[in-house]
């Protein structure tokens, strides 16, 4: 069955400096299969994908795509051989329309040398129809939400009719419904004879989609499993190389009955009216599809987006922040969705990143002055307390791993001693091992008496962490479920927007 080999890697190695990040002596991927690839951050997944797509040049070994040797580090050669990759970043041109982006590097069938808008738009519509998504093709990409962009990326890759399709965490930015579309597309492609490499964080999804699951750890392929073998426990064990202890099934009960947050009829652009309550020590989950208004709700509560109407009370006082500074002063903190864009000063020292939200308070005793001693002491304490692994607090935070960066962001907000902590996708882009520690921090926040509102696309995460889950759809709350009362099915039903008796 040698005709069926889509990709062959032989003796492929890659090192950055003294660190060998990938070592694959021998690997074949077959046509007509979806191959799942999992591993912790830094396990070598991106490097492996980059080598297949030609964006990374291997130090040794060779790569064959359908029998043809891939010239090292030449993305256009890989593309010519039929490799297409959908990455987590979206190299889309913001100022062009959806249709123009889809036909950026090729012409629609039957088009002459001149740009034919009608033909392009028709071709784009057909591509999106195949995916089952409805996005007006004349819209500028910059006006679209992240999940819609993700779908356009996918459509763009599919438009090239690839023989080898590499999907790099294609669902990390998507809600359950859109994720299902991606999974269907992957299965579809394989059924039509292509080879699909599906790289994923969500293990259940990888198991569902894949015919074969590969596990990378420290640059080595450590397991090659059938879907039946690839149980969650097994996968995690292979990935982290040790058994991950099972999480406590129940978060500590919220013992403090005091209400911290009370929201009545809150509306903002694309949001509301919303009624919501969160008590001290309570972890309230917010589920919903992308674009359901989850992040928006948090941003409005944080004062980062204007509200139109409604009443919010925080610790029994009226709360209407005009900006984030007032929100922080009132005792609210937020860990935003996109760590790199919304949280970090990437090139600045860890110390600066830690003290960012408490600067005025840190300097209050000293009339606005920042004494190096106080600053260092704070950073040192937070690094220790939150287990941020770094050589020194003076090192740029961009050099840390995702999990450590997130710990630093949590430390930043804990330092402001908020009464209400808002978390937006707190474990996005964090490897399995580090997730457990983030969960521990969330529980710690509740144990310290904060009210925690956590938004997540991962239902398992919410079901693990929360005392209560509210579900949003189209800017409103469509369901509220107490612990023991919920199931994935009920949450999904509410997320789809059909009203339900809670």
């Amino acid at each position: 069955m040698s005709a069926g080999v889509a990709v062959r890697l032989a003796g492929v190695e890659k090192s950055y400096g003294p660190v060998r990040v990938l070592n694959v002596p021998d690997l074949e991927l077959l046509e007509g299969q979806v191959v799942g690839l999992v591993g912790e951050n830094g396990a070598g997944k991106s490097t492996l994908m980059g080598i297949l797509a030609g964006t990374v040049a291997a130090d040794a070994g060779e790569v064959e795509i359908r029998g043809v040797r891939l010239s090292d580090g030449q993305p256009d050669h890989a593309q010519q051989l039929g490799v297409a990759m959908v990455s987590q970043e979206f190299p889309l041109v913001d100022k062009l329309s959806v249709a123009e982006n889809l036909f950026l590097n090729r012409r629609p069938a039957g088009a002459g040398p001149l740009f034919d808008r009608r033909l392009v738009e028709r071709g784009a519509e057909a591509l999106l129809r195949d995916l089952g998504v409805r996005i007006p093709v004349h819209r500028l990409v910059e006006t679209l939400q992240v999940p819609q962009r993700q779908m356009i990326e996918l459509a763009k890759a599919l438009g090239r009719d690839p023989r080898v399709l590499v999907l790099d965490e294609p669902t990390s930015a998507l809600g359950p419904v859109e994720s299902d579309v991606v999974i269907r597309v992957a299965r579809d492609k394989a059924a039509r004879g292509s080879c699909v490499l599906f790289v994923g964080h969500r293990l259940d999804e990888v198991r569902r989609v894949a015919d074969r699951v590969l596990v990378l750890r420290n640059g080595e392929l450590v397991a090659d499993l059938t879907p039946a073998e690839a149980t969650e426990v097994r996968l995690i064990r292979e990935m982290v190389g040790r058994e991950l202890e099972q999480q406590a099934a129940e978060p500590p009960p919220a013992r403090d009955p005091r209400t911290v947050l009370e929201v009545h009829g809150l509306t903002a652009e694309g949001l509301g009216p919303i009624d919501l309550r969160a008590g001290a020590g309570e972890i309230v989950g917010v589920a919903g599809l992308m674009g359901s208004g989850r992040s928006r709700l948090l941003r409005v509560l944080m004062g980062a987006q204007a509200r139109l109407a409604g009443e919010v009370r925080l610790r029994d006082r009226p709360y209407a922040p005009r900006d984030t500074a007032e929100a922080i002063a009132a005792g609210v903190g937020m860990v935003p969705e996109d760590r790199k864009l919304q949280s970090l000063l990437v090139d600045a020292p860890v110390r600066w990143n830690l003290s960012l939200a408490v600067l005025p308070r840190l300097a209050r005793r000293t009339l606005g002055l920042l004494t190096p001693r106080d600053d260092r002491a704070l950073a040192g304490r937070l690094v220790r307390d939150f287990g941020v692994r770094c050589r020194t607090p003076e090192q740029a935070i961009g050099t840390l791993s995702g999990g450590n960066q997130q710990r630093a962001v949590f430390a930043r907000w804990f330092a402001t001693e908020p009464g209400l902590l808002l978390l937006d996708e707190p474990t996005r882009g964090i490897d399995v091992g580090a997730k457990a520690e983030i969960y521990r921090l969330v529980e710690e926040a509740a144990a310290r008496g904060m009210a925690v509102v956590v938004v997540s696309s991962e239902l398992e995460e919410l079901m693990l962490l929360c005392h209560r889950i509210v579900v949003m759809a189209r800017g409103r709350i469509t369901g509220e479920l107490a612990r023991g009362d919920w199931s994935k099915e009920r949450i999904m039903t509410a997320a789809a927007g059909t009203s339900m008796a809670s």
Partner: protein, 344 residues
Amino acid sequence: MRGTGVESPPQPASAAEPAPAREVRFWRLAEWLAGTPEAGVVAAVVVIVAVLTAVNPSFVSVDNLQTMGRDLGQFGILAVGESFPMLTGGIDLSPGSITAFSGVFAAWLNVNAHVPAPLVIVIVLLVAASIGLVHGLFVTRLDVPPFVITLVTLVTGQGAALAITHGLPIDNIDPLFNGFVITNVLGFPPPTLLFALICVAVWFFLERTYLGRQLYAVGGNREAARLAGIRSNRRIVLAYVVSATSAGVVGMLVLGRLNVGEPGVAVGWELTAIAAAVIGGVSLFGGSGRVVGVAFGAILLEVINNGLIILHVSPYYQQIVLGAVLAIAITLDRLRARRLARRR
């Protein structure tokens, strides 16, 4: 059909053997230099001063040093002011123009409107500050690119200077202006002392107050700063006010030095200021750079300028040299950034 043998070979014990100590020391030095762009500028100043002194000892004569000191007062204060908008990720193209305008406006107030000199200084600085305020509001409220709105002032400022004077210098100004510039204090020209004072004040503000830290944060990541409770807009407005006000100060230093309100001065000085800031390690993308670097960037440019005169190099070549120094500085900056990025 999974015919590929994937086994897990034993883990190689990597990174166990210690690297040679010399290499470690080298990397530590390289790392420190990479994290301290100011070191290169200071070294360049030392080397160039040494070479020029060796070639022509009159380079370090008291007279020449005082001349350089007065020049430095002008370029240096502009550069330090300019670094504020640059730290926020913006740019200010107007300082040269505001310098020219402030000078003749001060002369006009003093001579034509008979306003006493101290009051003139206050008024001119307030006017300069409000020009900066307008820049800041355009940048933050209307989202006008800093390049564009300060370009407007670049053009109109020079125009206003010409309009006030009808193109002719204004003389008979209060001797206070000239006196301040030429009366040396313990051998030091007052503009130099003022420059030093401003450097210390700015260093203190940037490194030792929370507002200064917030300014860096806004330049490093405006959205992250905003979500961390920093009023980013106010910090940006402040940056433009500082830049414009320092240009106002320089305007009066120039007025004092020439002893006439001359509309055609300071053309292109904003570029020298930007060059000094960049050479001193201020990132064009915002968020990093320190006042030590900017000060030495200005000193470097002044030393080179003056050195070329001492060496009798035709003034026509000076701008080429300035351009070359800037090109070298930018290249080194990018190489440094790439090295930092690679270690990540």
